[in-house]
């Protein structure tokens, strides 16, 4: 990157949309795609775009996130200058647990002010995509925008719209309408919750927000000042999936079984980094049958697996049949079990001969560490 850019990641936003998975972890540390956590995508996008200073804002339940990110070495962000900074809520006067993005930024304003960056990229962790921030920043500078918002043009359901911010955009790409959680469906410009601003601009709105008691960036800045500021939209067309419900989480994982989606999400020149676990390769036993599945390192498969995502260290016993399911890290499925449309969280143990059935529209979720 030619300009000095600071990345800010909001690790806790949208947790209520998949409350089962975020019961004991942040949105950013939700497991995804066999070996990742949701934050890996945005953090890798930043690292691959040349952003070498990133702050991760957390609120609660951030133990798993701290454990996952460590010093940031896997993202090449363990740096003397810049690098990765975890920003749990400070508890000084006027700060503490924040209510909205603006308030959260105010809580970490010392960190932002100290950075020598000229621009700030802010992102949530609810979008799975591969994105190069360089052309977006170039456009931001070119159009002299106050704020650039990244959106995608998608056909969305009413459920998705109710969990989204939707933009009206004029022919110059300028945002002229902002709808938050509208009850609409069909083709819309959906916010990907990624924003670029100059540091100076951010500083001003943070300070003004604190003075006026504003706390929501979307409501009070984007929507409240749509016509006051020059807010530009940048359309992102590459593969992307927003995680706004259990079903969309399930679908996003299953999207990885499509080679076209995989090629877009894991391009050769922009790898997705994650915490290393030092597992041996996956082992397929005699009698194993695996079709249309993603299998991570450290798995041991003795049974039948179809249309599944198997995370690192998952085990499927002899005679078991697992279909259309997401089996997270270190889950052990015994012998002669049958699982269909199930999501097992980490470290689940399923004894021999159990039958568990969900549906694609309502996958059966089994919580972390459960023994069945």
């Amino acid at each position: 990157m030619n300009e000095k850019v600071l990345g800010i990641i909001f690790a806790n936003m949208h947790e209520d949309s998949i409350s089962d998975l975020t019961k004991s972890r942040t949105m950013g540390s939700v497991l995804f795609g066999g070996r990742y956590r949701l934050i890996d995508f945005v953090l890798s996008n930043m690292a691959n775009s040349g952003v070498d200073e990133v702050g991760v804002i957390t609120k609660s339940n951030y133990q798993s996130l701290l454990d996952h990110l460590g010093s940031g070495r896997e993202w090449d962000l363990a740096r003397k200058k810049g690098g990765l900074h975890l920003l749990p809520p400070f508890s000084h006067v006027q700060s503490g647990i924040y209510r909205g993005r603006l308030e959260a930024l105010y809580g970490v304003s010392d960190f932002i002010m100290r950075s020598d960056a000229d621009y700030v990229i802010m992102s949530d962790c609810d979008i799975v995509t591969s994105m190069d921030f360089n052309p977006i920043l170039e456009r931001h500078i070119e159009t002299k925008a106050d704020i650039t918002v990244v959106y995608s043009r998608d056909v969305i359901s009413i459920e998705e719209a109710r969990r989204s911010t939707v933009f009206g955009i004029n022919e110059d790409g300028r945002i002229n309408d902002v709808m938050i959680h509208p009850s609409i469906s069909g083709c819309a410009n959906v916010s990907l919750n990624i924003f670029i601003v100059s540091k100076e601009f951010l500083k001003n709105i943070i300070l003004e927000g604190a003075a006026r008691g504003l706390y929501s960036f979307e409501e009070e800045i984007l929507r409240g000042r749509t016509h006051e500021y020059n807010i530009m939209g940048y359309c992102h067309n590459n593969y992307h999936k927003k995680i706004y419900s259990m079903v969309s989480y399930f679908e996003a994982n299953m999207d990885l079984l499509d080679s076209n989606n995989r090629a877009q999400l894991f391009p050769e020149n922009a790898p997705v980094y994650t915490k290393v676990r030092d597992n041996p390769p996956a082992k397929y036993a005699i009698g194993a049958s695996v079709k249309n599945s993603l299998v991570a390192d450290g798995c041991i498969i003795e049974g039948t697996v179809e249309n599944c995502i198997l995370f690192r260290g998952a085990k499927v016993g002899r005679g078991s049949v697992v279909k259309d399911s997401i089996i997270m890290q270190d889950t052990v499925i015994g012998q002669k079990c049958s699982l269909d449309s199930v999501i097992t969280d980490k470290n689940v143990k399923i004894s021999d001969s159990r039958v568990l059935t969900g549906s694609k529209h309502y996958p059966l979720y089994i919580g972390k560490g459960a023994e069945i």
Binding site: F266, P280, P281, A282, G287, K291, L294, V295, A296, D297
Partner: protein, 400 residues
């Protein structure tokens, strides 16, 4: 704590590995891939850190680029330390001139200053061509208990195998009383594993004496061990009974990989208490396609499998297209097996392309004369063109 290490490891990684020919043209033997995601050197390095030895000198000489790059700062093995850690030690120039490492003893001799920086009581000498899991600390305890000057790890092998190894003859207290290099009629079945612990002050003395002897071959087995025996030092054998495999030949490298697929062979890479570390690839999980058949195999990250894989070890980033068949084989990182190609009883090196219709290797039962049969080997970065054939025992190091 910053002035001393009790035991420092010196890993001999400079050998050419000439019997692995096609796989070691561009890399030293310890850098040769093994076991789906490892390189041979991962085993001694992981054993070191798991044994609590955090200072390792890796003596390199032949084709060190890949090896040095792989070791880096040692972080994947937790060997990036403020004091200690892993150090690549290639030969260097001195005021008196420049010298290559001539023999194992000379290589260690030239690195006396490295070991001395840590003022160790003991050094452990390792080599980069064996696959095994071993607690060096247990061996060190034994060395201390026995008040030995040198302890040599030995493996009890069969009488037939014994003539391929250096054989230790011991008394009932495990003292080594004699030593034979590859004897025709072995007097014992205790084979040296190429793992030595020395009391450093003693070893240093013999290394210097050996260096001053102009007629010496500067080799541990030929000089240092016999010299110490003659000098009346206490040499003991330390019996090891786990899995240990020399991967110095193409056949043994193939077998050692196949051993991982055999549930009756005691090498467990899945043991959380003795993890084998390696430099992990940054790749998504493996995808196994709708028409794939995968059984009794190991498959690493980033692979895309649409064909048939049976009894094989598939490294990271390998593509096996629809209709391709890979059995009893090893496919190293980044290679592509195109639709309809057949690979049987073979080793395919890194970043190869096997075009459709090509046929590499053959099953032993299809060959009339068993002497004509052997593992087929395709070296690194090679294209095997459409419908080309690589016969059993054939070793390819140029495009065909």
């Amino acid at each position: 704590m910053y002035t001393k290490k009790e035991c420092v490891a010196l890993l001999l990684a400079g050998g050419q590995g000439s019997r692995l020919y096609a796989l070691t043209q561009s890399m030293a033997k310890p850098a040769v891939p093994y076991g789906g995601k490892y390189r041979i050197i991962d085993f001694p390095l992981s054993n070191c850190i798991n044994s609590g030895i955090d200072t390792v000198g890796v003596l390199t000489q032949y084709q060190p680029l890949v090896l040095h790059d792989y070791i880096g700062n040692g972080q994947p093995w937790d060997l990036d330390k403020q004091y200690g850690g892993v150090h690549a030690l290639p030969p260097y120039q001195t005021a008196g001139g420049a010298e290559w490492y001539e023999g194992t003893a000379n290589a260690i001799y030239q690195n006396i200053p490295f070991a001395d920086r840590y003022n160790p009581e003991y050094v452990i000498i390792l080599s980069g061509d064996h696959i095994y899991k071993m607690d060096y600390n247990a061996m060190l305890r034994y060395h201390k208990e026995k008040k030995a000057d040198a302890t040599i790890a030995v493996l009890d092998v069969s009488m037939e195998e014994a003539s391929r190894f250096g054989i230790m003859i011991t008394d009932k207290d495990n003292n080594i009383i004699d030593f034979e290099e590859k004897p025709k009629q072995p007097r014992s079945t205790l084979a040296s594993m190429g793992i030595y612990i020395f009391t450093w002050s003693k070893l240093k003395k013999y290394l210097i004496a050996n260096e001053n002897d102009k007629t010496a071959t500067k080799d541990f087995g030929k000089n240092i061990i016999p010299d110490m025996m003659k000098g009346g030092e206490k040499l003991v054998a330390y019996a090891f009974d786990g899995y240990w495999k020399d991967v110095g030949t193409l056949d043994s490298l193939w077998e050692a990989n196949m051993d991982l697929l055999n549930p009756n062979i005691p090498i467990d890479l899945y043991d959380p208490d003795w993890k084998m570390y390696s430099r992990n690839p940054v790749l998504p999980p493996a995808y196994v396609g709708k028409e794939a058949n995968v059984e009794n195999s190991m498959i690493s990250e980033g692979c895309s499998i649409d064909g048939t894989v049976d009894f094989s070890v598939i490294f990271e980033g390998v593509t096996i297209e629809k209709g391709a068949v890979v059995t009893d084989s090893i496919i190293m990182p980044g290679s592509v097996i195109r639709a309809g190609a057949v690979v049987e009883y073979a080793i395919v090196g890194e970043n190869c392309v096997v075009e459709s219709g090509a046929h590499i290797g053959a099953r032993p039962e299809t060959i009339e004369n068993r002497d004509d049969w052997g593992i087929a080997v395709v070296g690194h970065n090679i294209t095997v063109s459409q419908n080309a054939e690589v016969k059993p025992k054939q070793i390819i190091s140029e495009n065909v």
